[in-house]
Amino acid sequence: MSDPAATPAQGIWGRLPEWARPLNEERQGLGSRRLAETTILILIGVFLAVATVNDVVLQTHVNHRLSADLLTWRTLTGHDYINLDTEQDIKTHTTRDTVCGNVSPGAPGARAQLCLAMTGPVVSGMRTVSGGYYLSPYHPDLYANRYGCFGLPAQEGLCGRTSAPSGSPLDPPLPTGRP
């Protein structure tokens, strides 16, 4: 006796070969296909879970590094500012970060900015300062706006201005290395 639920639809579709006819409900006894589908779904789920956990671990490491960057900037400058800009190396994906903050109290970006390049591993919650540069107030961190390069940024020629713009503070190089 045939399964009434799985009876193929009649009419024009009846001319199709049996395997291609539309059904109102799936035929019984397709356990092996269901098992194969479920196995594939579980494998995809495990794969996505591994990718997700891996990403969380990577992000955790990045956060750990950024915390060290901020602490290093605050320690070296002696300014305990909350609003600091951090920029990661998204071009070559190294662990080099740049942290920028005001040289004197004020709204974020409203004063001249001191940007420090941080490299190397996190040791005792700090990173190594390998150089830096300055930016005028309200100017984005672009080649044309940078001045007073010292350390690694000076060697790499990252400053587009040869001197401080009028009204901007002097550009004393800070000590590089670990604070």
Partner: protein, 445 residues
């Protein structure tokens, strides 16, 4: 003698059953308290004002702001985890909950979020900006981004990534938002929140109805959607228009399920699918599965009639760009977000992110999955489940994933005959939540 013994045993069993029942009720009560407390914590803290999680907004919930503290990642993620755990517990206990309890819980959660500020996303301000561009400034939102109205009071609230981006939403949604534009930013914000609340309530009612029609437990289906953390906190909390799309999709499902062969409901179902598509283009996913399952032309007639009517209206109001949904889809499919699964997979293999070739591969994989599901539907597989799988596959393969995208498949999963879809949807949502946890494990300060 034996009769007395039997009575004694029955009494003892009755007492044990009552005692066990009380324990279940107490546990359900505790889980309900966790759900309400976690939601209140998020809403009250959010009411304090702008934070990394709460966008700048007109102060529409200032009366709530005296209790909490500014919402940070730590508190939010702990509340979200507690909520998610309690949600899982409530689903396990669903059979023991009364219908009244379930409805009261869902209503309370929705109302708490409704009266609070906008959570997590700036999207609602883009919706208002597009509406004000068209109504107040005579600027076509399909041609220009909100930057074209930079003097408008809503402009300062629009997310900075979107100020130059023209709307990607369908013309039906844009037209729905137009009446709210003259209400001012705060008035329009309440209007958007009300639209989202009504869309959520409508989707829940239709989910209930569809579950009953399919012989499934409607209470469980209601809880799956109405208590879902991403539905409540992200979807409703951000007043996202995805809820309007799910309302129209579930309308199409309910009409199809209730349609006798040859009845007008089949035509209306087609029109509802088109309506969903004209809110968000992904709504079109339902149509081929309805057509293959019904094997009738009526839904297509509904799509055609409604399509012509909407195309004329959209053309009259927005010009040719209001009708060109395909180019908006092409533009958005190129976006990349850090939460997307393809980005995570790229990181797993040491790549910095997704490349154009990856987009092509993902589209090819998605096409294979859809073809497989279409064939399965032709051969009798549950078309509701097939539609849900397709929406879920779109979400997993998309390089631009946001929390509220995981809601597209949820109501379909709740009424699907294939329970694997529900588990898979939960798994995707669970992984999304796990991916948010880095600031809890390593806060940046």
């Amino acid at each position: 003698m034996s009769g007395a013994l039997a009575t004694s045993v029955e009494r003892r069993e009755g007492t044990l059953a009552t005692s066990a029942e009380r324990r279940w009720v107490a546990l359900a009560g505790a889980l309900t308290v966790v759900l309400l407390a976690a939601t209140l914590e998020i809403v009250l803290d959010a009411a304090v004002g702008h934070s990394p999680l709460i966008p700048k907004s007109p102060s529409i919930a200032k009366w709530m702001s005296g209790v909490g503290e500014r919402l940070g990642y730590r508190v939010f993620l702990i509340a979200l985890l507690a909520y998610t755990g309690a949600f899982a517990g409530i689903l396990l206990l669903a059979r023991r909950l009364s219908v009244r309890w379930a409805i009261a819980l869902v209503a309370a959660l929705q109302l708490i979020v409704f009266v609070g500020p906008i959570l997590i996303s700036t999207d609602v301000f883009s919706y208002i900006a597009y509406a004000r561009m068209g109504v107040e400034h005579g600027v076509n939102p399909y041609l220009h981004g909100p930057i074209a109205i930079s003097a408008d009071p809503v402009y300062r609230y629009v997310g900075k990534d979107w100020i130059k981006v023209a709307t990607a939403y369908g013309p039906l949604y844009t037209l729905l938002s137009y009446p709210l534009a003259p209400l001012g930013v705060a008035g329009a914000l309440w209007g958007m929140k009300l639209e989202a609340l009504l869309a959520s309530a409508g989707t829940l009612a239709l989910t209930w109805r569809c579950a009953r029609m399919r012989g499934l437990d409607p209470k469980l289906a209601l809880l799956v959607v109405g208590v879902n953390p991403l539905w409540v906190i992200y979807g409703l909390g951000g007043a996202h228009n995805d809820l309007i799309m799910t309302l129209l999709l579930m309308g199409a499902v309910a009409l199809t399920l209730s349609a006798e062969r040859g009845s007008r409901n089949e035509i209306y179902a087609g029109a509802a699918v088109l309506g969903a598509t004209l809110v968000k283009a992904t709504g079109i996913v339902l149509l081929p599965f309805i057509l293959l399952s019904r094997r009738r032309i009526a839904p297509l007639i509904g799509v055609a009639v409604a399509g012509v009517a909407f195309a004329l209206i959209a053309y009259a109001v927005f010009g040719i760009h209001g009708v060109d949904i395909v180019s908006a889809l092409n533009r958005d499919s190129a976006f990349v977000s850090s939460d997307a699964f393809p980005t995570e997979i790229a990181h797993l293999f040491g790549k910095p992110g997704v490349f154009p070739i990856d987009h092509d591969l993902l589209e090819a994989m998605l096409l294979l999955i859809v073809l497989h599901l279409l064939w399965r539907t032709w051969r009798g597989y549950d078309w509701v489940a097939a539609s849900g799988w397709t929406l879920l596959a779109v979400v997993v393969a998309s390089t631009w994933l946001l929390a509220w995208y995981t809601l597209w498949a949820l109501p379909l999963a709740a009424i699907s005959r294939d329970r694997r879809l529900l588990y898979a949807t939960f798994a995707v949502q669970g992984l999304f939540i796990v991916h948010q946890l880095a600031p809890l494990l390593a806060p940046v300060s």
